[in-house]
Amino acid sequence: MITWLITVKEIKQHFRDFRTFIFLLGFPIVLMLILGITLTNAFSSEMQLNDIKVLVRDSSSAGLSEAFKAFEKELGATGIAFEQLKPGEDGRKAIEDNRYTAYVEVSDAGMSQYGSSRSAIESNIVQGMLSTFADKYNAAAAVTRDGDPSKAELVFANAGSGDYVKELSIAADRSPGSMDYYAMAMTVMVGLWGAMSVGGLIRSEIVRGTGIRLLSAPIRRGEIYVGKVLGNVVANTLCILAIVFFSKWVFNAYWGAHLPVVFAVLVSEVIMATSFGIAANELVKGGGGRALVMLVVQLTSFIGGAYFPVDDSGVMGLVSWLSPIRWGNEALTNIVYGCNLAAAWPAIGLYLGAALLLLLATASMRRNKEGF
């Protein structure tokens, strides 16, 4: 109950200052607009899908093998290249070396795919097509079992490349445009701003002079702390919701079909950002904490691709993974464009793990400490 009082107070104060409010919402939206429009051209060439090259090891018996050959041929027409595994070649190694987008093993027991994590979107596309193929093959097999092989022919005959490509188009048509990219990148960046709006667990209250009242009231420290964290998380989540829906409805940015999962990633990011803000303000005395937060937020925004997409190949590509912005961008890209919901887990895990570490460190530092 006390926690709730403090949470509500925090949210109120968060939105009370009109200038802060305008900055919180206006800045990312304006930036989205400017970057999204001015960089349209530079962008589309950069973000095009890489060529899709699939490595295949087919050890299946005649029926499946033939069907798969047909499937390869259909898709070959769309520009996807299939290559057969050479004897002695290690398919998974080839993926690790990033020579192919995906490696597919076809046997009578089924099909398995190894996707390259470095071209996640493309390998998701391959996965989508494979599952369509599997569905169709199973359907055909069922028909065949019913005793009329000619009908099986029919099933495949109808399966023109368009059928597979339709699956593919969920992703391919939606390779992110510049507005889509910046809507996402700005939102992930605003998530990190949660670090700037929190003034420590109690430090900002002490600076304001009100800490003395909170600490002398008959409440537990934990109630204050949890209230502070919750308040900041809720307030920042509201901002993010506003930005997502604004970009979706006004700028027509694409947010995919799994908004709840998108928000789950963003909320975990806000939790991490909040914990970081708290840790910095509690552990670095004076104004140093705020400065540190500003610096880290700006730096990670920059290297993590908030202002321009990271080129994956170079050193900057590697460095970008140090930025929590990159984790979020990557996860959201996969969720929104690859419909790969599992991509949420690594990001959520990283965010919440980091949050836990930061909060534990802060709590242990504050323990047994006097009010000031």
């Binding site: 006390i2 002079g209 909170l214 002398s216 009231a217 008959p218 000031f372």
Partner: protein, 311 residues
């Protein structure tokens, strides 16, 4: 029953002893004055009573219960008016009082009622919806008090509630303190304005360098100064440095000057007024008024420490 009972309280900051083994008791219904110069250790003592600082030694009991073992009870019984304003500038007067009262467990209709009551009590009833940033210094001080009283604490601790405000607001606050006391609150009133303390406190402790150097009613304290007198001389114009010329005259212990008013702390037994006036007139000072003061707390302080309260 003692509302507050402090025994052997000590606080060290590193090697520096800010509060040095002090003991005192405050009974129910008292307005207890805590008088001391800047840095005497008043706020440090109060911060320990509010569990903001942990004592380096000693014991604090509120309503006969140890605050270490029953801190929740102690905190619930306390209302604190901090020396530095403790209000949210970005929340209305009403929201401020209501939030802090909420921390003490007030809810719903009772919370609303008590919040309004507290605001009306400090004369901010019509400012409930205004933000403190639009308030004068005196109004902020009054809001600072309202935030401490809505939960009707048994003991209210006021740490210099009148610093830096106009005389009108000060009188208002002093009157409020008396009214609170009449309604049954015990009050600890900290100040370095001896006039205030003399005016409202039933008992006074004088602190200096972390120690209580005298304690008692105003009469008891002033009765201890029988051997000194204070002479206050008002000049028409002052060039500065007049007071210095008086040092060394027989009986003069200390002479200090604020603009054109000179205060001389002197042995009561030496008849030196003529000599003092003569010395001033030799220096071409024109005298407007001369007054010999009744013994007061300022004199007590000066006698005990050799310094003025506000030096």
């Amino acid at each position: 029953m003692n509302v507050l009972d402090i025994r052997g309280l000590t606080k060290k900051f590193g090697d520096f002893v800010a509060v040095d083994n002090i003991s005192f008791k405050v009974g129910e219904g008292e307005i207890f004055g805590f008088l001391g110069a800047n840095g005497a250790g008043k706020s440090t003592t109060i911060n320990m009573i509010c569990s903001l600082l942990q004592p380096s030694g000693g014991e604090i009991r509120i309503l006969d219960r140890d605050i270490k073992t029953q801190s929740r009870f102690a905190k619930q019984s306390l209302g604190i008016v901090p020396q530095d304003l403790a209000i949210y500038e970005d929340m209305t007067a009403y929201e401020n009082v209501s939030f802090f009262a909420g921390l003490y467990g007030l809810r719903g209709g009772q919370l609303k009622e008590r919040t309004e009551e507290a605001l009306a009590f400090v004369g901010l009833g019509d400012k409930a919806k205004s933000f403190p940033k639009t308030f004068s210094g005196g109004m902020k001080r009054r809001l600072n008090i309202a935030c401490a009283i809505a939960h009707k604490p048994k003991l209210i601790i006021m740490d210099e509630p009148t610093v830096g405000i106009d005389p009108q607001s000060r009188n208002y606050i002093l009157a409020s303190v008396r009214k609170l006391n009449e309604s049954g609150c015990t009050i600890i009133y900290t100040s370095h304005y001896m006039e205030e303390v003399e005016e409202i406190c039933s008992r006074i402790a004088i602190v200096d360098h972390g120690k209580i150097i005298a304690e008692g009613t105003k009469e008891q304290l002033t009765a201890t100064v029988t051997d000194v007198k204070d002479i206050v001389i008002e000049l028409k114009t002052a060039t500065g440095g007049e007071a210095e010329r008086l040092t060394g005259l027989p009986g003069v212990r200390k002479a200090s000057q604020e603009e054109n008013v000179i205060r001389i702390h002197s042995d009561a037994s030496v008849d030196n007024l003529n000599r003092i006036l003569k010395r001033l007139m030799e220096g071409d000072s024109e005298i407007r008024a001369v007054e010999e003061r009744e013994p007061n707390l300022e004199m007590v302080f000066l006698t005990l420490t050799g310094r003025n309260l506000r030096d």
